[in-house]
Subunit: 161 residues, 2 copies
């Protein structure tokens, strides 16, 4: 919540209470300890990261090692949640749901990571872009049959190039 | 929480408190009102579904209509959260993190949906598989450059065929 709102940004009053609760089920270990060090997106770095799952959930990893790629959900706990329209430093004003910014009503990031290995409750992956210590929310198998849409287009991003 | 545990399934004691909170930001309208009616996965039906966003967040949709596909996160609020190993009715025992089952410590589902249209705060999409009334958590633009991995493999699922 440290940032101020920028010109052109729109904030909302969030509801007074939450509707459901999340457990942090582990932590993500990355080389990045400041936001300006993080890659711009998950394919922006080949750095190896580690997912350290809480040992309480160890049995739930059975079968994960057979996946080449996993969907990782994590909680961007340092992001403000009230911005509806954002003005990125380099880019046009956009609605929050048209952006992958961590700033959103529910600051849950989704990344597709390549699974390098599983050692007990530690997963070695490539393809994450978050701060060291980011709370883990979920791990899912990535199914190309339902998750891969190679010809998908984000029109507003394409116009920029 | 209506189901009993099946033979071979493993449950855990969940933490006593949540670590973070979620806002339900809308509801998903689908043709399915009972779990046994839902398609087996998100490509299992061509049915048109509607995402009804809470009007509070309307401004956050600016730019979304330029996307051919969106990532939809939703909360499977009828799923139990304590199973680490699951025994699907038709299939082998697997760890929760190797399955896309709604049953998981944080029952957040992720689907890639084709965006048919945006009308105010109502998004028409194809590619969801959830119950009518499911709470919406997030909408994100789907970027093929980072989200599409057409050659990804889930080894344990491939062995079955």
């Amino acid at each position: 919540m440290s940032e101020d709102i920028r010109a052109g940004e729109i904030a909302t009053a969030l509801p007074e209470t939450f509707d459901a609760g999340l457990y942090f089920i582990g932590r993500i270990r990355t080389p990045w300890t400041r936001r300006d060090e993080c890659p711009k997106n998950a394919r922006g770095s080949d750095a190896t990261c580690t997912i350290a799952l809480d040992p309480r959930y160890a049995a739930a990893l059975d079968g994960v090692a057979t996946c080449t790629h996993i969907v990782v959900l994590y909680f961007m706990d340092q992001a403000r949640r009230d911005l509806l329209v954002q003005a990125p430093r380099h880019g046009e004003r956009r609605g929050t749901f048209a952006l992958r910014s961590p700033v959103r009503p529910n600051p849950i990031a989704m990344s597709v990571a390549r699974l390098v290995g599983v050692d007990g409750t530690r997963l070695t992956v490539v393809g994450l872009d978050c701060l060291d210590g980011t709370p883990l929310i979920d791990i899912k198998p990535y199914f190309a049959s339902v998750d891969a849409v190679p010809d998908a287009v984000v029109g507003h991003a394409r116009k920029k190039s």
